[in-house]
C-alpha cells in the first residue's frame, strides 16, 4: 500500500486502528517528497524534523487512546502541506518572493494554529506564485512547480505547489489561498478537489495579504470528504480578524449523506464561451448530467455581469495589493538592498525583491487609486462588484448551486502564457467572479482531455452554504471515479 496516497479519512481509519503509525505515514511522505520534489518543486521548505516530532507525539497519543483521540484532534498524525503565504511559527515563509526569502515568522496564522491544535503533521511549505499573484506558479521566485500529470505543464496557480503536492501524493491534503481562483484553478489543472470558502469563513490572520477583500484560505484535498474535515478544523470566528464571520462551525463531514435529490442546479450560459477547450465543455456538461441523474434538477440561468468581472477584479485586487505590499520596505524584516539614502533603499530593495508580475500589479493598483483616477476606476469597480454580488444573490434565490467549468482549458505548457499577462488573466475568468461575490465553491475532477489532463468542474454555493457545495461534490464523487485517478510518476 502506498501510504502517501491515503486520504485524510482513510489515514484516520488506519491510524485509529493501529494499522499504521503517524511516523510511518510521515516518513513515507518525506521519502516521496525527497524523491519527487526535485522534479515537481511543489515544496519550497520541508519541515522534516518538526514533522517527525509531531508524528511521534501523535503516535504517543494514538497508542494511549486509539481512535478516540480524533474526537478532539481530528487531524492527529495526518501529514499536510501549507501554502507558503501562510505564516508558520519557526518555519520559513517566503510568499514565493525574493523579498521574504529568509523570513521566518515568530507566530502562526490562525488556520495553521488550528491545524497544529488538531494534531496535524506539518510537512512543509508549498510553492506559490509570488504573493499569490498568478495562475501557474511561474511567478514564484523559486522556480515553477510542475504538473504531476505532465511535467512540461503548469499545475495552475497560485496554490500550484499545494495542488501538485496533493495530486502527486506528497501529502494527504494542503492549505491554499484563493483570491481569484488560486485554489480552484490549480485543483482543476491537477485533478484534485479544491475548496474555496466563503469570504469570512476562515480567518485571514497570518495569511500574507494579496487583496484583503478577496483573499480566502482554502483546502486542496483528494476528495470532498477530506475538504469537509479540513474545513471543520480551520473554520470559525477569529478575534484577530474583524472580517471573519461569527458563524458556527458546522458538521460538514457528517452532512455528506450522498443525497442531492431535489437540489436545484443553475447552469450559467456565460460560463460556456467560444474559444474554450471543447473537451472541457463536454466533460462539464457530462458532469452536470451525472448530477441530474442523481436527482438534481438543472436549469439554465444567466449571470450577465460575469463579463465585467475580470476588469473589476484587476482594479480592486491590484488597488488593495498596492497598499498591502507597501510594508515590504526592508526596515523590520525581509530583503534589504542598501541605497544611498532612504528612498534609494526602498527603490533598490523593492526593485530587487519583487518579481515582474508583482511590480505590474502594484503599479496598476497605485494608478487606480491615484488622485483623479480613483472615482473612475476604484469607485466604479466597487459599484460593479456590488452588482455582481446582487446578481448572485438573485440567482441563489432560484437555485441551490451553480455549476460551471473551473478553467476554460486544461493545464497549459510552462512558458505558454508567461509573456502574455492578459492570456494568463483569462485563465481565471470563471473563478474570480466568486471572490468578488464572496461566495463559496469547490472544484472537482469531472473528466480528462485527450492528452490525459484532468478537467475541473466547479460547484458554486451561496455565501456560507459550504454544506450544500460539499454535499453535492461528495455525492458526485460517490458516483464517479475521476477523483481517484492518479498521475503516473
Amino acid at each position: 500500500m502506498n501510504l502517501c496516497a491515503l486520504t485524510i479519512h482513510e489515514a484516520r481509519a488506519s491510524l485509529g486502528a493501529g494499522h499504521v503509525t503517524a511516523t510511518a505515514l510521515t516518513r513515507a511522505c518525506l521519502t516521496r517528497i525527497h524523491a519527487l520534489n526535485p522534479r515537481l518543486n511543489a515544496f519550497l521548505t520541508v519541515n522534516a524534523d518538526e514533522a517527525l516530532q509531531q508524528a511521534a507525539a501523535a503516535d504517543e497519543r494514538l497508542r494511549r487512546e486509539g481512535a478516540a483521540a480524533f474526537n478532539d484532534q481530528p487531524l492527529l498524525g495526518v501529514p499536510l502541506g501549507i501554502k507558503d503565504v501562510l505564516s508558520t511559527r519557526g518555519l520559513r515563509t517566503t510568499a514565493g518572493s525574493r523579498i521574504l526569502e529568509h523570513y521566518t515568522p515568530a507566530w502562526d496564522a490562525t488556520c495553521v494554529a488550528r491545524l497544529r491544535a488538531a494534531g496535524a503533521v506539518l510537512l512543509g511549505k508549498t510553492n506559490t506564485d509570488e504573493f499569490a499573484m498568478g495562475s501557474s506558479t511561474e511567478n514564484s521566485a523559486f522556480g515553477v512547480t510542475r504538473n504531476p500529470w505532465d511535467e512540461a505543464r503548469v499545475p495552475g496557480g497560485s496554490s500550484g505547489g499545494s495542488a501538485a503536492a496533493v495530486a502527486a501524493d506528497l501529502c494527504c491534503a494542503a492549505l491554499g489561498s484563493d483570491t481569484g481562483g488560486s485554489v480552484r484553478q490549480p485543483a482543476a489543472l491537477c485533478g484534485i478537489t479544491g475548496l474555496k470558502n466563503s469570504y469570512g469563513r476562515v480567518s485571514r490572520y497570518g495569511l500574507i495579504a494579496y487583496a484583503s477583500s478577496l483573499d480566502s484560505v482554502g483546502v486542496l484535498a483528494k476528495d470532498a470528504r477530506d475538504a469537509a474535515i479540513m474545513l471543520e478544523v480551520i473554520a470559525g470566528h477569529d478575534p484577530h480578524d474583524s472580517t471573519s464571520a461569527a458563524r458556527p462551525v458546522e458538521g460538514w463531514e457528517q452532512a455528506l449523506n450522498g443525497d442531492i435529490r431535489g437540489l436545484r442546479i443553475g447552469v450559467p450560459r456565460e460560463y460556456f464561451i467560444p474559444g474554450m477547450q471543447p473537451e472541457v465543455t463536454e466533460a462539464v456538461r457530462a458532469g452536470i448530467e451525472t448530477l441530474r441523474s442523481l436527482g438534481a434538477s438543472v436549469i439554465d440561468i444567466s449571470l450577465p455581469s460575469t463579463t465585467l468581472a475580470l476588469p473589476v477584479y484587476y482594479l480592486i485586487a491590484t488597488a488593495e495589493a498596492s497598499a498591502n505590499l507597501a510594508r515590504f520596505d526592508s526596515v523590520r524584516y525581509g530583503l534589504r538592498v542598501p541605497g544611498a539614502d532612504l528612498v534609494d533603499t526602498y527603490r533598490k530593495t523593492r526593485g530587487a525583491g519583487f518579481g515582474a508580475e508583482v511590480k505590474r500589479r502594484i503599479m496598476l493598483g497605485t494608478y487606480a487609486l491615484s488622485a483623479g483616477y480613483y472615482d473612475a476606476y476604484y469607485v466604479r469597480a466597487q459599484k460593479v462588484r456590488t452588482l455582481i454580488k446582487q446578481e448572485f444573490e438573485r440567482a441563489f434565490a432560484q437555485v441551490d448551486l451553480i455549476v460551471a467549468p473551473t478553467s476554460p482549458t486544461t493545464a497549459f505548457k510552462i512558458g505558454e502564457k508567461a509573456d502574455d499577462p492578459i492570456q494568463m488573466y483569462l485563465s481565471d475568468i470563471f473563478t474570480l467572479t466568486m471572490n468578488l461575490a464572496g461566495i463559496c465553491g469547490v472544484s472537482i475532477p469531472c473528466g480528462f482531455d485527450t492528452a490525459g489532463l484532468p478537467i475541473g468542474m466547479q460547484l458554486m454555493g451561496a455565501a456560507f452554504d459550504e454544506k450544500t457545495v460539499l454535499r453535492a461534490a461528495d455525492a458526485f464523487q460517490r458516483n464517479t471515479e475521476w477523483h481517484l485517478r492518479k498521475p503516473a510518476l
Binding site: 521574504l100 507566530w107 485571514r204 497570518g206 480578524d241 497598499a323 510594508r327 520596505d329 523590520r332 488622485a371
Partner: protein
C-alpha cells in the same frame, strides 16, 4: 498697513486607552524600553490584521460630543498611503471621507495675555470644528550620527485628529482654544493632554491679509510646539515677521515652520512640497463602523459637565468672580473638590450658598493651591478631604479660631490629614472671644506702652496697629481680632476724653 491673521488649528490628541488602536499592546509608550510594547499587528508583520479598539472609538465620540459635533452613524476606515520607516504598514489607518465627528464648535474664553491684568479681561469666542476623527499614531525615529533607530512602542496608539475652521483670529485665541481643548480631554479622561510629552500636539496654519480683505494670504504651518506658550509666542512672532515682510513688499513663502523655544524664533523646516497623493481607499481589513442609538446614548449619558459649563454655573449659582470660576474649573478634580467643600458647608438646604462658596473659593485658591504648589502635590494626593476643609472654615465662621490661627491649623492638616478641631484642641488654639478677658488684656497693653498710647492720642494713628499687635501677642494669637480692636479703640477713646 494693518493686517489680520487667519488661523486654523489641526490638533492631534493621543488617547490614554490601555491598549492600542488596532491591537492589544499597551498604549503607554512613554518611558518604555524601545520596541517592547509591540506585536505582529503594530509592527506590520506579513499577514497581521487590525482589530478595532472600541474604547478608542468611544473616546473619540466623547470628544466629538464635547465639541458639539455631529456623530457619523455609519462610517468606515481608510488607508492613507505614504512611505516612512516609522509607519510600519506603509499606510496609516485613518478616516478621510467620513470623519466620526464633524460640524461642531467650541466656545472659549479668550484673555488678553499681554495686558498683565488678564484675569478679568476676556471675551467669549466660538470656534467652529470642521472634523474630529480617529487614526493610529506612528512609531518614533531616533537619529545618532548617520544611523537611525525606530521605536514602534507608539505605533498604533489611538489618536484623535481635530481640525478647526479658520476661525482663530489671534495668538491669544489660539492659546485659548488649545487650552480649552486640553481641559476638555482631561475632563473626559481621554488623554493626559500633556503637550510636553506630545500627548497634545497643536499645529496652527496661518496667513495674513490686509484688514477687511476677503481673500486669504499665503499659508504657513507651524509644527513642533510643545507648550501652550510656544503656540501663542510662535503665532505672535509670525504675525510680526510676516507683517514686516508684507510692509516691505515681500512675498510670504508657503513653508512648514518649527519653533525655536530658546531663541524665540520660527525656523523653516520644509519648503513647499508637491501635493502628496495619499491614495486613500476604504480599509478592507475592517468592517464599517456603525454607531447605533443605544451605543451613542450610553456614551452621551457618561458625559461629564464640561469646564465652560461648570465655569458659568459657578459664576451664576455661587456668585464667583470670573477669575475664581476659571481657576476652579480648569481641572475636574479641583472643581469637584471645591463643590464638595461648598456642599459640606451648606448642608442640604443650600443655606448661605454664595457666602459658603466665597470662603471655600478663598481657601481652595488661596491656602490649598499655595501648599499644593509648594509641595508639588496634585489635588488627588491632598490629605485634607473636602469635609475637613469645611470643618476648618466653620471654626473660623463660628469664631472658634481666627483667620491667622486657621492658616496655621490648615498647614498642619495639609501635612497630617488630621481634623481641624482635633488640632485646635490639642494645641489649645481656640479663639478667646470673652470681652472681660480681652478688656483686661487691652488695659495691660495700654499700661505697658504708655508712650505709644500717648503718641497715638496725639495723632500718630499708625500706632493703632502696633497696639493691636501687642494685644494679639499677649493672647498668644488667640484673641478675637475684631473684639480686641473694638475694645482697644474704646479704651483709647476713653483715655482721650479723660
Amino acid at each position: 498697513m494693518e493686517y489680520e491673521v487667519v488661523i486654523g488649528m489641526e490638533t492631534h490628541v493621543e488617547q490614554s486607552t490601555h491598549s492600542k488602536m488596532f491591537c492589544s499592546c499597551s498604549a503607554s509608550f512613554f518611558g518604555a524600553e524601545p520596541n517592547t510594547n509591540v506585536c505582529p499587528t503594530c509592527l506590520g508583520m506579513p499577514g497581521a490584521l487590525p482589530v478595532i479598539n472600541q474604547r478608542a472609538v468611544e473616546f473619540c465620540i466623547m470628544v466629538g460630543l464635547a465639541l458639539n459635533c455631529k456623530i457619523a452613524r455609519h462610517t468606515f476606515w481608510e488607508r492613507k498611503s505614504y512611505w516612512y520607516p516609522d509607519l510600519p504598514k506603509g499606510y496609516q489607518i485613518s478616516q478621510y471621507q467620513c470623519p466620526l465627528c464633524y460640524d461642531g464648535y467650541i466656545d472659549v474664553d479668550v484673555r488678553d495675555l499681554s495686558s498683565g491684568n488678564w484675569t478679568e479681561t476676556h471675551y467669549r469666542k466660538r470656534i467652529r470644528i470642521r472634523r474630529a476623527h480617529l487614526e493610529e499614531d506612528t512609531g518614533k525615529l531616533a537619529h545618532a550620527g548617520n544611523v537611525s533607530f525606530v521605536d514602534y512602542n507608539r505605533s498604533g496608539v489611538p489618536l484623535i485628529e481635530i481640525v478647526t475652521e479658520p476661525d482663530i483670529a489671534s495668538a491669544d485665541e489660539a492659546y485659548a482654544y488649545l487650552s480649552a481643548l486640553r481641559d476638555i480631554v482631561r475632563y473626559l479622561g481621554v488623554s493626559s493632554g500633556d503637550m510636553e510629552k506630545g500627548a497634545l500636539r497643536g499645529e496652527p496654519n496661518m496667513s495674513l491679509r490686509p484688514k477687511g480683505s476677503d481673500t486669504f494670504g499665503t499659508k504657513v504651518e507651524i509644527k513642533n510646539l510643545n507648550s501652550l506658550r510656544a503656540v501663542r509666542d510662535s503665532i505672535a512672532y509670525e504675525i510680526k515677521r510676516q507683517s514686516r515682510l508684507l510692509d516691505e513688499g515681500d512675498q510670504i513663502r508657503q513653508v512648514t515652520l518649527g519653533w525655536d523655544d530658546a531663541r524665540g524664533v520660527t525656523v523653516i523646516q520644509r519648503e513647499k512640497e508637491e501635493a502628496h497623493d495619499y491614495r486613500y481607499f476604504p480599509e478592507p481589513d475592517l468592517p464599517p463602523l456603525v454607531i447605533d442609538d443605544t451605543w451613542l446614548e450610553a456614551i452621551r449619558a457618561r458625559m461629564p459637565e464640561l469646564p465652560l459649563a461648570k465655569n458659568d454655573r459657578f459664576m451664576r449659582d455661587f456668585g464667583l468672580s470670573g477669575y475664581d470660576a476659571m481657576v476652579l474649573t480648569k481641572d475636574r478634580a479641583t472643581a469637584e473638590y471645591f463643590e464638595k467643600v461648598v456642599a459640606a458647608l451648606c448642608g442640604e438646604k443650600n443655606q448661605g450658598l454664595q457666602a459658603a462658596a466665597k470662603s471655600a473659593a478663598n481657601w481652595v485658591t488661596g491656602e490649598l493651591f499655595r501648599l499644593m504648589g509648594a509641595t508639588g502635590a496634585g489635588i488627588e494626593h491632598v490629605k485634607v478631604d473636602p469635609a475637613q476643609l469645611a470643618g476648618l472654615i466653620q471654626l473660623v465662621d463660628n469664631k472658634t479660631i481666627n483667620i491667622n490661627t486657621a492658616r496655621q491649623v490648615f498647614e498642619e492638616m495639609f501635612a497630617s490629614g488630621r481634623d481641624a478641631g482635633a488640632i485646635v484642641e490639642a494645641k489649645g488654639l481656640a479663639q478667646v472671644n470673652d470681652e472681660a478677658t480681652l478688656s483686661k488684656v487691652v488695659e495691660e497693653v495700654l499700661d505697658a506702652n504708655p508712650q505709644q498710647a500717648q503718641a497715638y492720642l496725639a495723632g500718630n494713628e499708625k500706632l493703632f496697629q502696633f497696639l493691636v499687635g501687642q494685644t494679639m501677642k499677649r493672647t498668644k494669637g488667640k484673641g478675637n481680632p475684631q473684639v480686641l480692636q473694638g475694645l482697644l479703640k474704646a479704651a483709647l477713646d476713653k483715655r482721650r476724653s479723660q
